[in-house]
Symmetry: C2
Subunit: 221 residues, 2 copies
DNA sequence: ATATATTTTTAGATTTGTCTAAATATTTAT
DNA sequence: ATAAATATTTAGACAAATCTAAAAATATAT
């Protein structure tokens, strides 16, 4: 596996995430995601094409090819393992891990990452509930459903949070909701689509539609 | 504290190390240390001067000023804490930690380093026996003496190894010598200046002059 | 279908860190 | 003290990654 620059890695990762939503990624979308200019994106796409990581025809959008996806999964593996480390071992708050992991993920030693993985006990999910690719790029893909769509009186566990803004994390903290929190929806109010949610061993809390749609859970007690 | 580029940090660190030996650092010496060209060094020295990190008059050599030393100690702190982490937690071999720490040291989050320090239990020395600066840049400065200069029948503890080549580390491993090894010199042979060294709870081993001069110890059992 | 708006690409400039080759300053040796 | 050797700096070029402004391609709306 070749080595890529920090900048190349950031582009690869962003394409990977964007192409989960849309089949093909546009110049503008990528520029917006990376807070850069469309012209810079075009420049980099030419480079990634000559390095055989993406499919790209001018004006046609682009997407990672098999090799590009492999590279992306390696970067995501590094990112999520560091997030787990920061949260679990260094006791960082939820909201703080991402920024630091953005830097750590570009340290390229394969041995470092594999030993870190071992040290952490081969974790399967990061603190935001996202799956961590293993050494072969494989990851568990737990069935996710938004809290808003969870049927009444069904036990579930929070496994992902879509939005990571400070405001959102503040609110979650206030409601005592985190990855791993076990809960069930007791009532749904048609007036404003708010939910009454019972968190295991706590009194019920009210969750707005907007918040519920950003919290993802998996079934099971 | 401002942020510096990876390249700037490498120059700062190299100047710090070189000026421990010589009062003032020369362009050529720094170029050799960093495997770069003298012209590149001059370019960077101009930059570090405008950033007020070094004293520098053309043709006169250079050295870090107070602020430059503070920055250098910050980088060295990061480097040595990561070395400790790699060795202690991830079980890297002695000889492998340096290269990876060279990359990790440039991740700039202060909070990361302070939390890492806490997680590691505020270690005072890295795996090579070099002191780790604390959060204020202070470090313990244990009296070091080369094993070759250690008087006969005096207890001492290995605290530093000057040379980190694979060959050297191989030899040390074979002789069962590592940082923290307690030992005393039982005899010195004038013919070849070799030493007979008794390692605590082991049979005596022979150490060549060359090896003994690269092993540093502090007094005490 | 054609004009308008949007998206994407190109052309050329900028910054950082590096280089080579040539010029200049300093040191060393006779 | 002066020539030769060495060390350092300058001048100008280059690669990577970015930018602005303008041109070209594509999409949209009447």
């Amino acid at each position: 596996m070749l080595n890529y620059s920090t900048s190349e890695e950031n582009y690869i990762k962003a394409i990977f995430h964007l192409q989960e939503a849309n089949e093909t990624v546009s110049t503008n979308a990528l520029a917006q995601e990376l807070l850069t200019r469309p012209a810079s994106v075009t420049d980099m796409m030419k480079k990634l094409k000559t390095k055989k990581l993406i499919h790209y025809q001018p004006y046609q959008g682009f997407r990672l090819n098999t090799e590009g996806k492999k590279v992306a999964l390696g970067i995501i593996r590094r990112h999520r393992l560091w997030e787990f480390f920061l949260s679990e071992k260094l006791k960082f708050e939820w909201g703080e891990v991402h920024e630091v992991a953005e830097e750590l993920e570009h340290v390229s030693s394969k041995k470092l990452i594999d030993k870190l993985d071992e040290f952490l006990g081969y974790p399967k999910f990061d603190p935001h509930g996202d799956p961590i690719p293993d050494v072969h790029g494989r990851m568990e893909d737990h069935e996710r459903i938004s809290l808003f769509d969870l049927p009444l009186n069904v036990y579930a566990e929070v496994c992902h949070v879509a939005n990571q803004s400070t405001e959102m994390l503040d609110l979650l903290k206030h409601k005592s909701i985190a990855i791993g929190t076990k809960l069930e929806v007791k009532r749904k109010f048609d007036f404003d689509n708010s939910l009454e949610v019972k968190i295991r061993q706590q009194s019920p809390v009210t969750i707005s539609e907007q918040l519920a749609k950003n919290i993802f859970v998996k079934y099971g007690s």
